[in-house]
């Protein structure tokens, strides 16, 4: 398979997952904010941190109000990691690989983009949002199923899968990060008179997180009856049966790597992340704060990507390829909500 085509279908897989998990992330964050006491200092700016778009957002000069942040993350075509941009690039990568993907897949991607563009034309009120996110998630799932059942499981398929699942691991790490807001002092202060209340709210956060990845049931069945931070983080990082868990994703990638030539260096990079995931002392991390750990995890996931590019895509800076943007690293500059880290 051509290196340039491999690169595009790999990005097709990544954008497909990025659109879906961004929708999930925004959905859960929205619904969580409705559950959190109003006196708390948890705000929409934090969402910019988690998606790594704080700096880009700042350059727009807008206040980090709900509507501004949501617009920026959903409908802003200037923001390369907004949902509409992800769908656009998903479409662009599909348009330029139509010779290797089933035509039904192209049609579905094309329609998904056109419909979303139409749906957001009238703004993204809370009501519109909910339906929109549900629609995007369902569309991406449908697309995944369509590829699985109607595309030959060949090299192109392998690259789609690897891109897809690598992106998923990255997004799971970001979703875990959402949980860290339950550790914020501002959050604790809001109900510090009542320790039991605080625990309730913490658990609300973690439950929402599980729901956002569709893992609530699986967690209850396989991990514990009670939803609490340590269990959820361990589940999302280390579980080897739940498809969105980082460890599951890494094993999945390893299996697909076997199908590709010269995969040794990429395998080594995957093994490094596996170690980071397996060796995480979650109890301790929750005490000291997740931020640094998540950073380390994301950097090592980015290393897998670099190795894939180096080995198979033979990166040629002059070549005309569709726009592709790695998910930005989380920003150095932190919003106000993030400055204080330690649990009170």
């Amino acid at each position: 398979m051509l290196s340039s085509v491999a690169e595009r279908v790999y990005w097709l897989g990544r954008y497909m997952e990025r659109a879906e998990s961004s929708a999930r992330l925004l959905d859960v964050y929205s619904s969580m904010l409705f559950d959190i006491p109003r006196g708390s200092n948890i705000n929409w700016g934090l969402l910019l941190d988690i998606t790594g778009s704080y700096e880009n957002f700042q350059s727009t000069g807008n206040m980090d109000s709900e509507i501004n942040v949501v617009r920026f993350l959903v409908t802003d075509t200037e923001n390369a990691s907004s949902i509409i941009s992800s769908l656009k690039m998903l479409r662009e990568n599909a348009r330029t690989t139509r010779e290797v993907i089933p035509s039904e897949a192209w049609e579905q991607i094309n329609v998904m983009y056109l419909q979303t563009r139409e749906a957001i034309a009238g703004g993204v009120s809370r009501k519109v949002r909910q339906e929109l996110f549900a629609e995007i998630i369902a569309d991406c799932q449908r697309l995944g199923g369509l590829l699985r059942s109607s595309m030959a499981h060949n090299t192109a398929y392998t690259f789609i899968q690897i891109g897809n699942v690598l992106e998923r691991a990255d997004m799971t790490s970001r979703i875990v990060d959402v949980g860290s807001i339950s550790l914020l002092p501002a959050f604790a202060r809001a109900r510090k008179s009542d320790a039991a209340m605080q625990e309730t709210y913490e658990n609300v956060v973690w439950m929402n997180i599980l729901r956002s990845v569709g893992g609530y049931q699986s967690y209850r069945q396989n991990v514990a009856n009670r939803v609490q931070g340590e269990g959820v983080v361990r589940f999302l990082l280390q579980d080897d049966e739940f498809p969105k868990a980082v460890n599951f994703c890494l094993n999945f990638i390893s299996n697909y790597l076997e199908k590709l030539p010269n995969h040794d260096d990429v395998q080594l990079a995957v093994d490094r992340v596996k170690r980071i995931t397996a060796e995480a002392n979650v109890f301790h991390l929750l005490e000291s704060g997740l931020l640094e750990y998540i950073d380390e995890l994301q950097i090592s996931l980015a290393d897998i990507h670099s190795e894939i590019s180096r080995v198979w895509f033979g990166y040629d800076p002059d070549a005309v390829v569709p726009v592709k943007v790695p998910m930005p690293k989380r920003t150095e500059v932190k919003s106000k909500a993030r400055v204080v880290k330690k649990k009170a």
Partner: protein
């Protein structure tokens, strides 16, 4: 309210479906009856579902403008055009004959030059042609074929006969739209296929692959065929991708290929892999910066050298365009007689060559009645529509002709036949042409029908999609 065929009046033009108001041709009776049976609401629904189907299927082309490149949905009219198979058989033979002769001509030009020695075609005409490639001298491609894929534009005059307007021997485009038009019609009017036996055109990609496989330097069961596109922003990218997909060939850009030891390779995830045949959709001049345009970023350095050494098949061969020059066109009837000793089955449109002093004088004196075309442009660019041009435009054009007569030819304004399109309120006549596609390798193939292009503006003759033309599905049906 249903469609009112009684108010449909094509005037003096030959109409493809109707003999006159309310009177369909025999082959169109079932179609006209069926369309007439739909209510206003129904045909609006069909029209909407065509638009939706085209959008969903992503059938698009790119229009260049100052505001940037815009991906536009393919303009399509839902009423098919019908041609009877008895009419078509003759036309098809004529097209095949024409391409055979043109390939003999190109091969002769680059080798013995007999036709020039015999003064059937003036030597200067060839040597001055912008499409003559010196570097091809002495080359004999496999099967002596240079133009493997040809798109010939036909028009139907008032007398109902097909005339050849021009041949496109470089990188003719449009065949993917011909195929997609059929797919759209099937989606939107499945009922129509109950009443007609329409000759399928879906085989084209297989024939194209066979034609390309024919020119593999080493005979193989599955030679590595690639489609070379100028890139993802090219106006015909949709087609390049479509054909690669249907042939199961790789779609490559120049940056995907390298030439080593005079062989062509593509960059794959396993390393370099040998390419046998390149179906190039890039103009000669951009093909290889080592030989032609040095600044070309689209081409592949060394590609032409690899071809000259016989290590890769190139379709169409560099230099094939020498025969689709609009001035050379005027000699095609003689060319057919010269090489094949046959009478041309399809007539040319009568033409005047400006390099001939007497004919040039006639052109200059009758600019208000003629259509003047530059020899080497395509897509309808750079031509003068005399009857519609202003006096000032005609004077400016006259100066251009005088400055470079070799570059121009002129034709009387031939009336193009009409076919009904579904307008906002009723069926309306519009002018159309037809571009069939012809393949030649060790065997020949002609598409049943072709791409019918429609001038969507009432009274207009401009059918080019780059200038707002539309298209129709074209049916060849048994009489």
């Amino acid at each position: 309210m249903a469609l009112n065929w009684k108010s449909y009046n094509p005037g003096d033009f030959y109409d493809e479906l109707m003999l006159g108001p309310g009177k369909p041709r025999r082959s169109a009776r079932a179609l006209v009856k069926y369309l007439g049976s739909l209510t206003n609401k129904e045909w609006h629904q069909r029209k909407d579902s065509v638009a939706a189907a085209i959008k969903t299927m992503g059938i698009s082309f790119t229009v260049y403008s100052e505001a940037g490149n815009i991906d536009r949905e393919w303009p399509f009219d839902i009423i098919p055009r019908i041609i009877t198979s008895s009419e078509w058989d003759k036309t098809s033979q004529g097209l095949e004959q024409r391409l055979r002769a043109l390939n003999c001509f190109i091969n002769d030009i680059y080798n013995d030059g007999k036709i020039l020695k015999d003064k059937v075609v003036p030597r200067d005409l060839i040597m001055d042609s912008g499409n003559y490639r010196k570097i091809c001298k002495g080359i004999k491609p496999l099967h002596d074929v240079w133009a493997h894929v040809c798109g010939t534009d036909l028009i139907r005059g008032d007398d109902g006969e097909f005339y050849v307007l021009e041949d496109n021997l470089r990188v003719p485009s449009g065949v993917s739209y011909m195929l997609e038009n059929r797919n759209v019609t099937k989606r939107v009017f499945p009922e129509l296929f109950e009443n007609y036996d329409i000759i399928p055109n879906t085989e084209y990609p297989s024939y194209l692959f066979d034609t390309l496989a024919d020119i593999s330097p080493e005979p193989k069961d599955y030679p590595e065929v690639v489609v070379l596109t100028p890139g993802i922003y090219n106006s015909a990218y949709f087609e390049h991708s479509f054909l690669a997909q249907r042939m199961g060939a790789e779609l490559v850009q120049g940056s995907d290929l390298v030439v080593e030891d005079d062989h062509v390779f593509m960059k794959t995830i396993k390393g370099l892999s040998l390419v046998d045949v390149v179906y190039r959709r890039i103009d000669d001049l951009f093909l290889d910066p080592q030989v032609f345009n040095k600044d070309s970023m689209l081409g592949v350095p060394g590609l032409v050298r690899a071809w000259l050494k016989g290590n890769v098949g190139l379709a169409n061969a560099p230099g094939a365009g020498v025969a689709d020059d609009k001035v050379v066109y005027t000699y095609v009837p003689e060319i057919i007689k010269y090489y094949l000793d046959e009478d041309p089955i399809l007539p040319n449109v009568p033409s005047y060559i400006c390099s001939d002093k007497k004919q040039c004088q006639h052109v200059l004196e009758n600019l208000d009645k003629l259509v003047v075309k530059p020899a080497n442009e395509s897509g309808g660019y750079g031509m003068l529509m005399g009857p519609q041009a202003s006096k000032k435009e005609r004077e400016a054009f006259a100066r251009k002709i005088k400055a470079n007569p070799r570059n121009y030819m002129a034709q009387p304004l031939i009336s193009l036949s009409t076919a009904p399109i579904l307008g906002d309120r009723n069926v309306e006549p519009r002018h159309i042409d037809l571009r069939p596609f012809i393949l030649q390798g060790s065997k020949s193939y002609v598409t049943p029908g072709g791409l019918t292009r429609v001038a969507m503006v009432q009274g207009s003759y401009v059918v080019n999609s780059s200038q707002g033309g539309g298209s129709k599905d074209t049916w060849i049906v048994e009489d």
